[in-house]
């Protein structure tokens, strides 16, 4: 029998004999992994909110009536290449602008009558520009468009009107992100400490035995191996429980969350990030279980 299968055998036997400690450790791991998984879903949820908000923010550059479509499209290409932070530049022709206005206000007589009185299409062709949300970027683009080569083509840029809203949205998304990072860091530190201390409690019960094993000439690997394998067993069982719990939770919550947040599908988010979820749960369960066992036993091996 190879030493590895012996180590595996010791680990499985100890696992079965110390049922109380094993169940307690798995329970703590399940709680911890669920916490971290919950955090992952929470981040997905907040990211969706942030992207949703940022997506609604843009600045519009209105071109003079006489500027041709070719000239506007040339400007569009140039602006798109200006910076990596520019996410999207959309061209809206005079006709499209009118069409959108009519569609938006089709039930409002006041707007329809006003348009009829004007007689002609009062809208100007425009470029709608979206960046990653930073007000400074919007301001910079606005300045570029209103000065130099573009100023002769452009009638106006609506940055000044939207400035307050852009700044507020940016501030909110920045704070939500910061809160997310801080919460993640705190919860991950708590999770690591909880797993470490739970493993330590499990290993502590064998502290004297580790000393005896050393005394009879067992190698460090032969002593440490069963604890590390047990850490992996605890983690894998906790992972299986957690992935089942996560799937069940997503299945039950997804339709309800879809009602509160139209367009957000928890199930789609879960499926598209399944490998990440598996990696997080296995990493926190088996990975952390093995690592902490390794270090806790190492400490006792030194004594």
């Amino acid at each position: 029998m190879s030493n590895f299968s012996r180590v595996l055998n010791f680990a499985l036997t100890d696992f079965a004999r110390n049922k109380g400690v094993s169940i307690a450790t798995i329970f703590v791991l399940v709680v911890t992994i669920s916490l971290v998984s919950g955090l992952f879903f929470f981040r997905g949820f907040t990211n969706y909110l942030i992207f949703g908000l940022q997506d609604k923010m843009d600045i519009t550059a209105y071109f003079k009536d006489e500027v041709t479509e070719e000239e506007i499209l040339a400007v569009k290409d140039e602006i798109t290449g200006l910076s990596a932070d520019i996410k999207d530049v959309q061209y809206i022709s005079k006709e499209k602008a009118l069409e959108d206005f009519e569609e938006k206000h089709k039930d409002n007589d006041v707007y329809t009558k006003a348009l009829q009185e004007v007689g002609a299409n009062p809208f100007l062709p425009s470029l709608s520009i979206k960046t990653s949300g930073d007000p400074e970027q919007y301001e910079e683009i606005s300045n570029i468009l209103q000065s130099g080569q573009y100023s002769q083509l452009i009638d106006s840029v609506d940055f000044t009107q939207k400035k307050d809203t852009i700044e507020k949205v940016y501030e909110i998304t920045k704070n939500v992100n910061l809160f997310g990072y801080i919460l993640s860091a705190i919860l991950i530190i708590i999770a690591v400490l909880v797993v470490y201390n739970t493993t330590k409690l499990a290993v502590d019960t064998s502290k004297d035995e580790i000393g005896t094993m050393k005394l009879v000439g067992a190698s460090n690997w032969f002593i440490r191996g069963p604890f590390v394998v047990q850490g992996a067993i605890f983690g894998i069982i906790a992972f299986v429980i957690c992935i089942i719990l996560s799937t069940a939770t997503v299945y039950l919550l997804s339709p309800k969350l879809g009602l509160i947040m139209p367009g957000f599908s928890l199930a789609d988010y879960f499926i598209s990030n399944l490998w990440v979820v598996i990696l997080i749960q296995l990493g926190f369960g088996a990975g952390l279980g093995m690592l902490t066992s390794y270090f806790v036993v190492k400490k006792y091996l030194k004594n």
């Binding site: 100890d14 064998s206 050393k214 005394l215 009879v216 000439g217 032969f222």
Partner: protein, 226 residues
């Protein structure tokens, strides 16, 4: 085989446990260390097993300086020394069978060898019918016999017994000492540490007396005189 050369052990900050100890034990000898509790007997054995390092001086086991031995060498030395202790030092989560089998597993023995040797040793020691029991289910005498079985199973060259009869009644004490004598007759070195006067006086073997960390007497056919 075993040599202590001017060994001093001081625990921080200034507790001197052993002071300038020198002696040599030849292969096949039966040597008893006697002295009051706290005289330094256990520290001496811990130095031999490499569990402690001397503050000054050298400890040799088969010409290997234990102070300079790396982990692997220490493990090999410990496998050559069977230990019997007052607190038994059993693996409490393993059965009687597994406690003994562990020693052979540590040496990398095959399963068929373990299955052959362990029941044999347990039968000799009188624990053949308790193989599946856990140490907590045994009496004090049985636990000490299990410790002896564990110390003997891999046929070590040296048996170190640190107060092996400290927790035993006179009947079990006699049994353990008789067993140690038998082991010694097979050519193995036995090192016994005790403060049991009767045991030493009946043995009639070499006795090294330690007092306050110093050797005050080293006699062949020695007696317990403190």
């Amino acid at each position: 085989m075993i040599k202590f050369v001017n060994v001093t052990k001081i625990y921080e900050p200034d507790t001197t446990v052993l002071e300038n100890i020198s002696f040599e034990i030849k292969q096949g000898e039966f040597v008893s260390f006697v002295g009051k509790s706290g005289a330094g007997k256990t520290t001496l054995l811990r130095l031999l097993l490499g569990m402690e390092k001397p503050t000054t001086g050298e400890v040799f086991f088969q010409n290997t300086n234990i102070k300079d031995a790396d982990d692997l060498t220490l493990q090999q030395i410990r496998r050559k020394i069977g230990g019997i202790y007052q607190d038994y030092k059993l693996l409490n989560t393993k059965t009687v069978y597994e406690n003994v089998a562990y020693i052979l597993a540590v040496e990398g023995k095959e399963n068929f060898e373990i299955d052959r040797e362990v029941p044999k040793v347990l039968e000799i020691i009188g624990l053949g019918d308790k193989m599946n029991n856990f140490p907590a289910e045994l009496s004090g005498g049985e636990q000490q016999r299990l410790a002896i079985a564990r110390a003997l199973v891999n046929h070590p060259e040296v048996i170190v017994a640190d107060e092996p009869t400290g927790n035993l009644d006179p009947y079990n004490t006699h049994e353990v000492i008789t067993l140690l004598e038998k082991i010694n007759k097979t050519g193995r070195t036995v090192i016994l540490s005790t403060h049991d006067r009767d045991v030493i006086n009946k043995l009639g073997k070499r006795v090294i007396t330690i007092e306050d960390g110093r050797i005050i007497r080293d006699e062949e056919n020695g007696k317990f005189i403190i």
